[in-house]
Amino acid sequence: MPTVSVGRDLLFEALGRTYTQDEFEELCFDFGIELDDVTTEKAIIRKEKHLKEDEDIGGDEEIIYKIDVPANRYDLLCLEGLVQSLRIFLGLDSVPNYTLADISQQSMLKMHVKPETSEIRPYVVCAVLRGITFNEARYNSFIDLQDKLHQNICRRRTLVAIGTHDLDTIEGPFTYEALPPSKIEFKPLKQVETFRADKLMEFYKSDMKLKKYLHIIEDSPVYPVIYDKNRCVLSLPPIINGAHSAISTKTKNVFIECTATDLTKAKIVLNTMVTMFSVYCERKFEVEPVEVIYSDGKSYICPELSPYDMEVSLTYINGIAGVTLEANKVAGLLNKMQLHAKQSVTKNDECIFTVSVPPTRSDVLHACDVAEDVAIAYGFNEIPKRKPSSIKPLPLNQFSDLIRMEIALSGYSEVLTWILCSYKENFAMLNRKDDKSTSVVIGNPRSADFEVARSSLMAGILKTVAHNKDHPKPIKIFEVGDVAVLDESKDVGARNQRRVAALYCGATSGFELIHGLVDRIMQVTGTPFVSPGDNTGYHIVSSDEPEFLSGRQASIIFKGKPIGTFGIVHPQVLDNFDIPDPCSFVELNLQSLL
């Protein structure tokens, strides 16, 4: 994305008001450009030379705005174009009407193109800006725009190269030729001596700025060159202009030539140059045409400033933008984007706009570009959104699945046990007493196996171990699932709670391994290990639960609240479930970590 540097004060003066940086950024955002950086000339020089803050250097303290503009908006590459676009966007100005000076074909300046140019750089377009008034800022902007165009659309001068000349120092008709380098001799810009073209190329090999363009013509037997009537060299495109016709802040009449390998782009470049700076001409927005005549007799008059007309239907614009605007409103919005629109109605009652695309808007290729401009002028963020149909998963289940994956990656195998269990398994066998406040109890159990809905995952997991006595040790298993708990606040008096439980069984209890798994679960849920009293994470305190061995068990405290327990399973409990090997077990409330 190209960046344009403009003086802030100059910009605000031209916009007719000052903005706070936030306000200006907002304007940029709506229009589709971006304030990339705020700096000063001094700071830029410092940066380039890698100097420190306090070192004194030349340069101005004036605030410079660096603005990113879209790569296809060549008209925004200079202050003049930015100001014009923004003023029209803000409704301050109307779209300028660019015209060609009304002169006869005979009195027009002529550019004759020699056939040899087709071997190297076949096209040229020209124009004249009469009665221009430069000052230092305008002049600098004029030079900068050429540079910006060269770097962007001209693809580093390969496609197009611009030459600008003081018309009062040269005399038409001009010729665009291609000659062997040894036949070209002139004094180039910024030099005092005369060079032969081939020597000049050698000379520029050490020029930091120009050496990167030499390859474009270097190996060609002929070099492109433009002469005036008196064989004065205007330029050796795309390398350098002649010193003789150099422009200055005092120049009144400017002759512009663009030589190219791509005619379409040459025309865009020429149009950009003349439309942007005709604002400083005596006859504002008027450009004097030049006739380009090829040796085969073909000729054209340039620049082509007449608008390009495009027919776009109201339905299409509304359809793209997703709005239902009326014709007058759309026409007004188009004006804000420099597009003049004329309404008409077809036989089938369809509203059609004839949109005039000005020479500054080469980016408008299709009706879709027009529709986009309407959407921008209306405001992208004002467009009513249409929500598509889509589905969302239950976060708790998604979360459970992610945790299941992590525990399995930690080397634990998943088991899936029953919600229903016997009353004894839920309480007595776990050394627990039923205080009647926890368990959902079934009224009509078919067998003793299905008396209650589990209050913990522990019984199911211990039963799994008991039934896998022959499995090689250690056994590492886990389950993520719901338990049922009594809850007075629920309409039915009970609710589910998502738990995770894991067990280690081996020759030793594996208490520290289960402790490590607790740490891992906390780590993967992004919970830091903190000291007691700190409520931003989790910590562990010893506990006293009957299903665990005394002194070998602990509570997991998460953000100040206990969410689970782990420890060595009480030998009495192991015995109750007929498990001969020591086990460590953890169970915690997964919902609290969601």
Binding site: M1, F29, G32, E34, P70, N72, R155, D262, T264, M310, G319, I320, A321, G322, L365, H366, A367, C368, A371, E372, I376, F380, I383, R386, P388, S389, S390, I391, K392, P393, P395, Q398, F399, L402, I403, E406, L409, S410, A507, T508, S509, F511, E512, L513, H515, G516, D519, R520, V524, G526, F529, S531, V541, S542, L549, G551, A554, P571, P580, P582
Partner: protein
């Protein structure tokens, strides 16, 4: 044995007054007794009080004299009754013993020292020094004068002796059971778990780290992204083809051949295989036409479109190359609306730095249907990004060669308290869709973003190389939490 002695003694007696004396009585070394007392004290079986005593011990010199006799005695004994020459005596005793011995013997007035001859002054002497040193060695006490004399000759040095006086502690028991560190199968079999005491566990330390594998953070995010697309009804495009032709990567997207992205500065072109072999010829012709002179209501770019440029092979610069193939294929059949997505690798010829890599992952989603509007695009973007945790969005006009309108997507980052650019979006240009053969009213809305950037924001990583590539820290991969994207 020492532990039993201490605990047993205290069972019947009030206290052990002096551990040193106690050790002697019990015939156990004092060091052993001290160790036991320290351990019992730690578990508060006993309460121990320090006792300090100053004692004397032999220096190395003192030790030699205690064994061999004092130098003056040695010297005296070496003098025969008839006397001896000094030279001879020195030879017999050595210089050191002679020097000290003669000095001390003289002081004791044992000798008659001539110019060259030495003889006894007295008939008989006792080696008192040796006798005192032996006493000190055996722990006996000496009177002050003797101590001063021996100290003066640096034959003894003071030593601090430490011992304890010991009483019952709050946890006193006549017999101590060693606290266990773990419950074993053996304990269960023997049933001795009932008497076991456990060493107190340190809950301020973490447990043993789990020995498992971990998945890469970026791919965990990718998995969640895929889940989101599936939930939104998108199907995945086959993106397992890094090598692409310029045609599908650029030309089919109406990206002109002089576009800067097609420079070798931005794109990796291939030496092998350098060009593509086949392209759908009639479609190529329509693409050429639209670039050169337009059509379907477009002005075109007005340049000479070159087939050689389109044939150049490259590493795809975006997954949109796959989208263009998919859309072309879709346009060859009777129209059917589609939602496609992909998350895969793309390549850019860029300098590697903190935020740029030569390859990264692009997330892309597109919807192809009749009558889609910018409102649909914004709606789907709200749906998508709110699932990533960004529910405040803004859209900025932007330029992209293959979309029109184009919108840059900005999301309000609640953590940074500012708007950040989070992706790009737009409607594919008619110049791209119509040459493919789609009906006029079919529109395609699409958006894209990198997988790396949201992941870096999510995990607070500010150097892309810390996340992706071989310079990654394995510790980061192991400690990385689950990706909760798509959970809310």
């Amino acid at each position: 044995m020492a532990e039993e002695a201490v605990l047993g003694f205290l069972e019947k007696n009030e206290q052990i007054i002096d551990s040193g004396v106690f050790a002697e009585e019990q015939g156990i070394s004092h060091d052993e007794i001290v160790n036991v007392i320290k351990s019992l004290n730690g578990f508060r079986f006993v309460e121990a009080q320090d006792i300090k005593k100053e004692r004397w011990q032999l220096t190395d010199e003192g030790k030699t004299y205690a064994a061999n006799g004092s130098p003056e005695f040695q010297l005296f004994m070496a003098i025969p009754p008839e006397g001896i020459s000094i030279v001879e005596l020195k030879k017999k005793l050595g210089d050191a013993v002679f020097a000290i011995g003669s000095r001390q013997a003289n002081r004791n007035k044992w000798l008659e020292m001539g110019k060259s001859q030495v003889s006894r002054k007295v008939e008989h002497v006792d080696d008192n020094v040796k006798a005192m040193l032996v006493k000190i060695k055996d722990g006996e006490t000496l009177n002050k004068e003797d101590i001063t004399a021996l100290k003066g000759r640096k034959l003894i040095s003071p030593q601090i002796w430490k011992g304890y006086s010991v009483k019952k502690g709050p946890n006193y028991a006549p017999k101590r059971r060693k606290p266990a560190t773990d419950l074993t199968r053996e304990n269960l079999q023997k049933g001795d778990w009932k008497e076991m005491q456990f060493k107190e566990y340190n809950f301020s330390a973490k447990g043993l780290p789990v020995e498992g594998g971990c998945l890469h953070p970026l791919l965990k995010v990718r998995q969640q992204m895929q889940m989101i697309f599936l939930q939104m009804g998108f199907e995945e495009m086959p993106t397992n083809n890094f090598v692409e032709s310029s045609f599908w990567n650029f030309d089919a997207l109406f990206q002109p051949q002089q576009h800067p992205a097609r420079d070798s500065h931005d794109t990796f072109f291939l030496r092998e295989p350098s060009t593509t072999k086949t392209l759908p010829e009639d479609y190529v012709e329509r693409v050429k036409q639209i670039h050169e002179s337009g059509g379907h209501g477009s002005r075109g770019y007005g340049y000479d479109w070159k087939r050689e440029e389109a044939n150049k092979n490259l590493l795809r610069t975006h997954t949109t190359a796959v989208s263009s193939r998919m859309l072309y294929a879709l346009a060859q059949k009777p129209f059917e609306a589609k939602k496609y997505y992909s998350v895969d690798r793309v390549f850019r010829n860029e300098a590697v730095d903190r935020t740029h890599l030569a390859e990264f992952h692009q997330i892309e989603g597109l919807i192809c249907d009749r009558g889609l509007t910018l409102g649909d695009l914004q709606g789907v973007l709200y749906d998508f990004f709110s699932r990533l945790g960004m529910s405040k969005l803004r859209f900025k006009p932007a330029y992209n060669p293959y979309t029109e309108p184009s919108m840059e997507i900005f999301g309000y980052h609640e953590g940074f308290k500012k708007w950040v650019e989070i992706g790009n979006s737009g409607m594919f240009r008619p110049e791209m869709l119509l040459p493919m053969g789609f009906p006029e009213d079919v529109r395609v809305i699409a958006w894209g973003l990198s997988l790396e950037r949201p992941t870096m924001i999510l995990y607070g990583i500010d150097n892309i190389r810390d996340l992706f590539g071989h310079k990654v820290d394995l510790g980061l991969i192991k400690s990385n939490p689950i990706c909760r994207i798509g959970l809310n």
